[in-house]
Structures are given as C-alpha cells and as structure tokens.
Symmetry: C2
Subunit: 454 residues, 2 copies
C-alpha cells in the first residue's frame, strides 16, 4: 500500500497506470512473497521519472537525505514502518546512533540537512528509541549544537570506538543508522562491529556500490514483474549498457563511448517506433560508482553537480559537450584516488526518461521514500530552469511535499464510476519498491559475508 | 507510535500525561518486548474515558465496527498495519472473506454499518487481498447488493461450507475475518476449519468471552506497566469486583449486589481521598458476558441499549433504578437461553470513570482503533444529551473523526519550550494498546487448543 498523495499529473490515466491500479492486490501479494525471500532496505529514497508512456527509477539512495521534505501528515506512516523495521532487527533495541554526513566544516551543515537529521531523530524517537546523532567527521571533535531557524537544535557528537563497538560519550547503541553515503570510502572506525547492527551494511555504502550491479538487479526484478502484469518490462525500466576501462582524455575513449551511445540510441528508437512514441530519445551517461551519483558530485563550490551526469541526444553532442572533460576528470580522480589517472573503470550509458510532471510550469520529479518494505511518503523535486530531459538534481532545486489527496477512495469494485479519483501516486510507490527490491538483491549479491550464511 | 490527532481537551497536561509523554521510548520498547511473547489482536477498538485525574479503557471490541468513522487521512496507516498483520498470518494470502454482522432482515443493515464494511474491504484490498463479504445470516440466501448514499455498494453473499472449508460461490478464502461478534453463540458453520485462518478465533467471540477475565488480564498488564512508569496502576485502571450467580428478581440478590456496590464505592472514596480528588464516585454494573456489552443490548426496537449497563452512585440508587429489572431480565435471558431463568452467572461492578472530554459542549469519549500492534486512528463518540458519568454507547450517539493535528512535533529534547504541541492522543493510544494487550493475554488464557501448542 502506498499513501494516496496528490500528484501534479491530472491528465487521463494511461494504459500502464490503469494496469497497475487494476492489479493492486496481485502486486501487493507479489511484493509480500518477494519479502519472504529478500530483506528490504532499512530505508531508501527513489527518484522516479514519469514520461507518460513509460516510467522508471533514476536513482536509489540507501542513505536518503531530505526526510524533512515529507509532509507532516506522513510522519505516522514513517514511524509505524520504523517500528516494524526495528522490531525485526532488534526488538530489545534501546539506543540508536544516527551517523550524519561528513562536511568539511561545521558551517557546511545547512539547515535543510540538519532538519533532515531532526526529522529522522523524531521518527525513531516516536518509534521507541533513544536517538543521538554522531559524526565521524574529523572536524567534529567535541559535542556541537547547531540551531535551526524554527528553534529546534541538532547536536552532533564525535563517534568514538571502544574495542569492537562504537558509540558516543555515555551512549552505547545497539543499532547504527548511516545517513552518510561514505562516498570517499569506508572509514576504519565503522569496520568490524560484530555486536552492533550497522545499517545499511558497509557493502551498501556509496564507494562500494556499483550502479551497473543495481541496474542488473533491477532488470531481473522488472522482468518478473512485467510477466505478472503482462507488460513489456521496458515500460518501467530504462535500457542501459556499460563501457569499461575507458579514458575520455583520449580520442579512442571518446570513440568507444560514442559508439555505445549511438548503439543504445538506435535501440531506443526501435522501441519508440514499436510503440508509436513521438518523443526525441536521449541517453544519460553516468559513472559506474554510486558515490558519484549526480547529487554527490559537487567536489568544490565552483563546480556544478551537473557534471556527474551527461544528457546526450547523439554522439556528436557527446564530443562537443562542454562538461565532458569535467565529467571525465572528476569521475576518474574520485574513482582512483589519483588525480592523474584518467581511466574510468566503468561508465554507464542509460536510456533517458523524460519527465511529464509539472508543478506551476516547472519540471518536477517525484521522490519516493521507503522504510522497511513500506512507502512512507514522497515529494516533488522541482526545477524551474530545467527541461524535461535534464537532470533535476541540481543546487537550485526546490522540494514540494506531496500532501495526502483529498479523496481517498481508489477505483474499485462497488464504486460508482467517476465517484473516486485514482491514486496516481500508487504507481510511483510500486516503481520505487521495485527499485528498492533491486537494491536488496544487489546487497545480497555483493554481501562479502554471504557464504557464512549458507 | 500513535498518530498525532487533535483532541478536544486543551487544558494543561497533567502529571500522568506528562509522565507518559516523557516515557515514550521506554513505553514503545516495553510494548515491543510484550509482542515478542504475545500475539496482538488482528484488529480491535477500545473505548477510553479520560477523567482528567485518571483514564481507563471501558470496552475492548475484537470485532470492531465503525471503521467508516475514521478520518480518511488515517487510511494509509490502517493499510500499512493490515499489511503487517497479513504478512504474519499468511504471506501467501490471496482471498479474504469478511463475515458481516447478522441482522434479522436486509433492511436492518443501516448505511453506517455498510460503510464500515466498505471501509474494511477498501483497507484489505489496498493491503493486497481480494476481499468479498459473506453473511452467515439465514436471511441472506442469495447474493444481495445494498447501495450506500455515496453510490458505493456492498454485496453480501451467503457463506457456504464445503467439507472443512468455508467460502462463497467461486471464492475460497485462506483467511476469514469476523466483523460479527457472534453474540448469540458460535454457529456450527464456523467450527472446525483446520485449513483456514479464522480471526478472531472462536474463543474470542462475544458469547464466549468473559469480561471478568478481560479485567483480570488488564490488571496484570497495568500492574507491570505502572511499575515501568512509576505510577499507581489505579490511575489507568478502574477497580472492579464480581458477583456470581445472583437473581436480581429476589431481594437477596439485590442485597448481595448492593453490598458489593457499597464496598466498591468505599474503596473508590478512599482512593479519591488519597489523591485529593473532589469528584463524586460512581460504579458501573455490567453483565459478565461480553456479548452483553452495552452496545449489543438492543434485543428489540422498543428496548433501549442503556439497560445493558447501570450507572450507580449509591446502593439506594441501585434499588430504585428504573432499569434494574430490564437489566436483570435481559442479561439473564440472553445468558441462559431461557426467559424464565433469572439467574445471572456473573455481574461485574466496576469503578466508573468520568469523562472530561467535550466537543461543542457535548460529552465525548475517544474510541481508538488498532490493527496488529499499531494504533491506526480514532474518533470521538459524542452524546449531547448525556452526562459525564453516563454511558455514551447509545442509539443517538454521534461520531466525530479525529483529524491529524496541525503541528506534528512532539515535545522532545532539542525543541524550544512551547514550540510544539504535545500529542495528547498518544496517551489514548497507550491505554488502548494496554487494553488490546490484555485481550491478547485473555485469548491466550482462554484458548481451548493451548495445550496442543505446548
């Protein structure tokens, strides 16, 4: 089940959406059976793009920020889901340590991120835990209290290690929840904690996850889901391909990438033709390392985040793209830890998905939040200055919480036709859960301790 | 966790309420540990009375009606909790049979009850089940569709038995959810269903449950809970005593009851004195059989439901009470199945709890709904014509859904004092869950199959 939220889109429901709404009990049962075999992520956020004719997840975060952007009415849902999640992990749980993002200095903790931490603290407090917020950032050497405009305050305390456990001064947590992607690598302080629950596990952190592995798992998930629904899985998944070990500072590297781009564009055109779609196809080029997701790419203040993702309509555009060298340099230097090494271990070329959603004429992208197996809310990421085929994860994005829809009835047997409005957000929740399930497959596949469970 | 709902009461928070709010993580953990040992009810509703100085559950239903009175914004919470409940019982579940209340004829299904059925159908549909509504009433011989004022319709289908399973025509459910208290006894069609889940189990039905057993379990629960909170459990539980095998048509029977009433009133006065309470104490006399709960007592249209419960301020009042003979006659005839048998097997004399809640000057009583271990919503039962010490479960009651409160912040560490409004409803949710936990103890104690589990 997914909360019934107002969505910007109010045109007629298309076939795919109708199919998803009609199949609700079968879909929910399908997820229920999946969760018998797989472990849902503790929490996640999924960016979804709805092109009208197809929709797909474009980013799945295992350490989601932005909880502050959820509508207050969602809070009980998040708390209830948090209770479910905690009960499964550690019913005796008393203390939860929330590990905040690293920032180069205290003033870099903006109020939006602090509100996010405050909101998470509130959710887990109401779920029945003593919550304190820790930092593994070397700039936080002592307990530091930061105040939000609404008067709320957030205290960041340095995380300390005591033999094989971590905690804060006078605070021994049984569960450690990372709200830190660990994009620069896994710090030693978090390694080998045999008696504490670390969520997500270290192999789910940004520097370890591989996007190609996520997409491979997503393909596996939607293949089966498409069969359940009787639809071509392409309608809910972007095609992709990978380029390995290329150097974009060399002509041969760019050539190789161009060929890949052209070949994928040809495939997309074929699909568009098959389904009578008039849009102009495009591809998205991403680095394969999750820590280089679009939103994490601002290495310094002068560089924009858009360099993390290139949106390309043809191979010629690739060669002439003003951000190509910045993309290559940044991706490679972060990847290899050596600014002179230009080799990109993996580049992903993915089918671009337009977004049809608009809020006040601005392009909007729904972001769906999950906790355990449940959709607990969502909001729109809105960007007035961007186009339908551009990346909305940019510094001047706005966030518009999705409110509960006024009418809560779903179209169903026994309702007079037209008497109810469909839950358009339901579909986004389904797609987000497919992405979350794929991430769960991904973590199972990459689990270094898997053999010990067998 | 409990949704943050607006409550009618807006005076200062008293010590008990503050203690409960301050202990939130400890309370939630306590419940979490309880649910490791005990099975929560699939669903329940609990009537709560708040006297300001004390509060207590006054009725716990295992087959709650009134789901239609919950605010629409609560629906996602109910659906999420339903998903948790179903997953635990039968993750493969496809079909759910909802068994409706019996009515003597079709026209007795009023729209409020039909809306209740429609709302339950909606919740379980959204939780991923095919839901159909069955009737075990002999008046429903074929599929009967009844239409609600909003155009929604409810189809009642006769339940049929096929060897050791029940279902509807072309509908084989794995789970059967009773929304029928079975007050007149357990019908044979529901007995011995070894391959289906029947909820609540038959020993939880109205004709089998004993109120005294429920109160005994509630006492056990609050004794431990009081210890956790460091408060006298009396603040959250009404004292009670039982009178067994009395005949109220005989002077000796009335004498015996009078003595019990006086003795309990003396105990209440002592407690009031101990805590400096100025209110006038009263007791409530109820029959011991749950099927004779106040709300189920309208055996025919001329008799009012208020005869099921007597509110008494002293023993003299008992003797002169205009409803005493009606109470005795009705209780006994239903109990023994013989209108000439006047013997009451068990009468409960319970401390009365005033209600301090008011909505538009009318006396109001919160009713809290749970699904699995979660509070999923609530509403006020309001009765303009009644007093603070009267039973509000009467035919002309109104129901006012509780909306989500505007501010969702709870008072907690890090918040500027006064910047947040407390979740007054939280306390009601705690009391309701204590009552629900007591019902869970009660079902364990009365389970006829318990020995086979050991």
């Amino acid at each position: 089940m997914v909360p019934h939220l107002t969505t910007a889109l109010n045109g007629p429901i298309n076939e795919l959406e109708q199919r998803i709404l009609d199949s609700m009990p079968a879909i929910e049962r399908w997820f229920r059976l999946e969760w018998m075999e797989h472990t849902p992520l503790f929490y996640s956020s999924v960016d979804v793009r709805n092109a009208g004719f197809k929709l797909a997840p474009v980013d799945t975060s295992l350490c989601p920020h932005g909880w502050n952007n959820l509508s207050p009415a969602m809070q009980p849902l998040a708390v209830q889901a948090a209770m479910v999640a905690i009960e499964k992990i550690c019913p005796e749980a008393k203390n939860l340590l929330l590990v905040a993002e690293n920032k180069s200095n205290k003033s870099d903790y903006n109020w939006a991120y602090l509100s996010n931490l405050a909101q998470l603290r509130r959710i887990f407090h109401m779920a029945g835990l003593n919550v304190r917020i820790g930092s593994i950032d070397s700039s936080i050497k002592k307990s530091t209290t930061l105040t939000l405009p609404n008067g709320e305050s957030v205290t960041l305390e340095p995380v300390c290690r005591n033999n094989d456990r971590i905690g804060l001064k006078d605070f021994d947590p049984c569960t450690i929840l990372l709200n830190n992607e660990l994009t620069t690598g896994v710090p030693g302080i978090l390694e080998d904690l045999p008696t504490q629950y670390l969520l997500p596990p270290l192999h789910g952190s940004g520097s370890v996850r591989r996007k190609s592995e996520h997409y491979r798992c997503y393909d596996e998930v939607v293949k089966r889901f498409g069969k359940l629904l009787g639809v071509d899985p392409w309608f809910i998944s972007p095609m992709y391909t990978t380029c390995k070990d290329i150097d974009l500072s060399q002509e041969t590297g760019v050539d190789s990438l161009s060929t890949t781009v052209d070949s994928l564009l040809a495939k997309i055109k074929k699909k568009y033709k098959e389904y009578g779609i008039q849009e102009k196809p495009f591809v998205v080029i991403k680095t394969g390392c999750s820590s280089l997701a679009s939103k994490d790419l601002s290495v310094n203040k002068t560089q924009t985040v858009s360099t993390g993702v290139l949106m390309i309509r043809n191979a010629k555009e690739l060669r002439e793209h003003p951000d190509l060298s910045a993309f290559a340099a940044q991706a490679s230097c972060k990847r290899m830890g050596d600014p002179n090494n230009q080799l990109l271990r993996e580049v992903i070329v993915q089918e671009g998905v337009h977004t049809k959603e608009r809020l006040d004429d601005a392009v909007a992208e729904p972001v769906v939040y999950t906790m355990d197996r449940y959709v607990v809310g969502g909001f729109y990421r809105v960007h007035a200055g961007r186009n339908v085929d551009e990346n909305l994860c940019a510094p001047d994005s706005n966030y518009v919480p999705l409110a509960f829809a006024d009418g809560t009835e779903l179209p169903q047997a026994g309702m007079k036709p037209g008497a109810s409005t469909p839950n358009r957000f339901y579909m986004y929740g389904v797609i987000a859960r497919l992405a979350m399930l794929a991430a769960s497959y991904e973590l199972e596949a990459s689990d270094p301790n898997l053999e010990t469970y067998e």
